[in-house]
Symmetry: C2
Subunit: 458 residues, 2 copies
């Protein structure tokens, strides 16, 4: 990068907050995307760490002047390469903007983009409040959670991040600082630009602050592991639970062999030894009595559906251990992983998707581990390394999965987003006119195409 | 309207479904906007009643060919003139598209745009499910509820309509039929065009169908009326309730004198005679025990905050009577009403807004009845007819209210939207750049500006 640009950047954010040099920028180039899918990062980049929206604005104006790509970066926990600097340009790291204030009277957190999910959870808990969703990695930054409209296991009851965001401060690619919404439960003043920014993966604006609705904490939790001999029976139990008027916080499906191996890898033991297929339910209720009643109802339903003996974990320690193991399946698989999908279908159609995936495994002679958020129809399907396979082999298999998901009324991505690695698939699997509208919106917001310029669209 | 156009319309929807002639179209010209604010409707219009999205598409293509304005119309329950045909053109009434199917396994209603809120509530109830929000008039159509992102009293706990919509079928002004989302709890495939359509007040597309998430019904309800001598004490009780970890479905504020007069007007009696200022709380809990506990906690908090004796209504009949009276305040005021505002501020700032409104009432020497959804900061302020006042007098007063709301971190409209009558205010009170982006988005979706062409933007 030209020295004069670096020097202008230093004059915006201060000497210490512009980082160059291959060694020092190394930690800013990639995210959690499986290595075989990762695009190559340009090394000709400067990492810039602004302190506030005004500095972000100055950086974006400079980028417009020089026609320089800008890659906003949060916690780097994404799985689709959305923050990878695929060209020479500026990595805009929001890490210094990490203040969270909780307004108890309005049940709102005001969080800067670089605060982490862990910070938010803690800030809420410190004042006896609660942020209901839990989209996985607690190192994710608020800006990234919003930019990707993160989902996670608890979306069954609570919905995705979008539902909790009531306002954002965003810096447009052209440098204007907009406040959209605020500490407002309702706002209908014109088109909802805030919801357009949420989920736009750092291509329409740089989110610098958010107002996030908090809730009083549900008093008590329990985690139940329910073993089944048979996958079909396990999955058919999900709609049966809903139909009885129960609404768990999360309903996850795992293969016992996979979760046992993950536990072993972590030096832990998976507590439920029965059945090859297991559901993990998290319940949150307002009182011990309500929790007891819900547990009892669920155990009854499951037994009626043919489950083996459910395991109810009530202590916080045991619950956390179960969820820790569940959440580490990805890390366990990662060394041999080529790609992790997050296809989503209507929840009652998930069984059909899983059967199709089994069938594809046989057809392609490969093991396709699946687990996921079955309560909301969101399935993580893993493409594993196979000797002699080429990129085209994986593409063909992935395409078959996507086609099936679309056929079942689903989407190619329920939570991970498009980023860099799903651009061709977006083009292929959404309506041409919808794509045309999205591209036109991108041009309105970012006429010089400087902000994350090669993401989302092929 | 030219006879050839009418005849083409008849060939699209069938002879019976194109209505012309001043007498016959009368019921399609206006909505519930207070008459002094209503724009004048053109009488040179044809009412067209398509049966499906394909017919809507044909109508919009024809409108593009002839450069003819199209005014989509639902239940006509809006309060800002959003569906009034202010120019010669087509009134597109979705009333024939009114089928609702409930998919119990996926907890989703598939509702056509012309079905009513009452239809949706009933369809859900018939299968033991529940649509949590309740944005007022049950004659509202699904299409309109989405187009206006309706709010209502229950938004305190449940949020606004937007949170429940998982998919829409929409016909673009240029005639393409798009399905955005579906029976999907999660969907991150590209920019969220669905959320852009929701709240766009019939200017970006004609919503023809929606997939709406339903929930298991909370088992039991109670309605509590809590009287206070003093308005300030009543309003300070609201954050106190949240801080104790309670989350009622609704928290409404009313002046006793106003609600008593409304009851009298309906031939009913308002059940709570104490105090001049009252909160109405609706609680929904999973069990009798949980409901009892929540009631007890709330009564304790209120007493600590200085309330008089609360009135707890548990029978469905008594609860319905209370809510009926509350919901008819608008009709009671309407004969002398000039405008109803729905300014929204952070909930804890509502007291300050009300005090400012009282002050303005004194300054302008007029009575400004207020009531509203205080749990979510959404206040209905009524400008009443005053002898000798001109339009400018009302404009000046309204502007002072808006300025105060903005100063408190609020918005000029929390639920009613912009429609026709708030266009100048939108221009005045939102960021210029935001307005520019909205206008550019409108041009992308509707290059010939045929769809509700003079709404939202001045």
């Amino acid at each position: 990068m030209r020295e004069e640009i670096v020097s202008e950047l230093r004059s915006i954010v201060g000497e210490d907050w512009v980082i160059t040099g291959e060694d020092r920028i190394q930690g800013y180039l990639y995210d959690e995307t499986p290595p075989p899918m990762l695009p190559e990062a340009s090394k000709d980049v400067a990492v810039v760490k602004p302190r506030n929206a005004e500095e972000v604005s100055e950086i974006l104006k400079l980028a417009n002047r020089y026609g320089l790509p800008v890659f906003p970066r949060g916690g780097g926990t994404g799985l689709v390469g959305a923050c990878v600097p695929t060209m020479s340009g500026i990595i805009l790291s929001l890490e210094r903007m990490n203040i969270i204030k909780v307004d108890r009277e309005n049940l709102m957190a005001e969080a800067e983009a670089g605060a982490t999910l862990a910070d938010l959870l803690k800030a809420a808990e410190d004042v006896g409040l609660f942020f209901p969703p839990h989209p996985g990695d607690e190192g994710a930054h608020i800006g990234g959670l919003l930019a990707c409209n993160a989902g996670g296991a608890r979306a069954v009851k609570t919905g995705v991040i979008r539902n909790y965001v009531k306002g954002v401060e965003v810096v447009l690619p052209t440098g204007e600082i907009l406040t959209l919404g605020g500490k407002l439960v309702k706002n209908n003043a014109g088109y909802d630009l805030m919801h357009l920014i949420i989920g736009s993966e750092g291509t329409l604006g740089v989110i610098t602050k958010a107002w996030i609705r908090l809730y009083p904490r549900e008093a008590v939790n329990a985690t139940i592991v329910i073993p089944f001999e048979d996958r079909e029976m396990a999955l058919k139990t999900v709609p049966a639970i809903f139909q009885e008027g129960l609404m768990p916080l999360a309903i996850e499906y795992v293969e016992k062999s996979l979760v046992e191996k993950t536990a072993q890898h972590l030096g832990l033991t998976w507590p439920c030894r029965d059945g090859d297929h297991q559901l993990i339910l998290i319940l949150a209720e307002a009182s011990e009595a309500a929790l007891y009643e819900a547990c009892e109802k669920i155990v009854n339903i499951c037994e009626k559906m043919g489950s083996l003996e459910p395991l109810v974990a009530e202590s916080r320690g045991e619950q956390e251990r179960i969820l820790k193991i569940r959440s580490e399946i990805y890390s366990f698989l990662k060394p041999n992983l080529v790609d992790i999908l997050d296809t989503t279908v209507p929840p009652a159609q998930l069984l059909e998707l899983i059967k199709a995936v089994e069938e594809l495994g046989r057809k392609y002679n490969t093991y396709l581990p699946v687990f996921g958020h079955v309560g909301d129809g969101n399935l993580h399907i893993h493409l594993m390394r196979e000797d002699g396979w080429t990129k085209e082999d994986y593409d063909r298999l992935r395409d078959e999965v996507y086609r099936k998901a679309i056929e079942l009324g689903g989407t190619i991505t329920g939570e991970h987003g498009i980023g860099y690695i799903r651009r061709r698939s977006l083009e292929k699997y959404i309506d041409k006119k919808a794509l045309e509208l999205m591209r036109a919106i991108k041009r309105i917001f970012d006429p010089n195409n400087i902000l994350n310029p090669d993401k989302v669209f092929p």
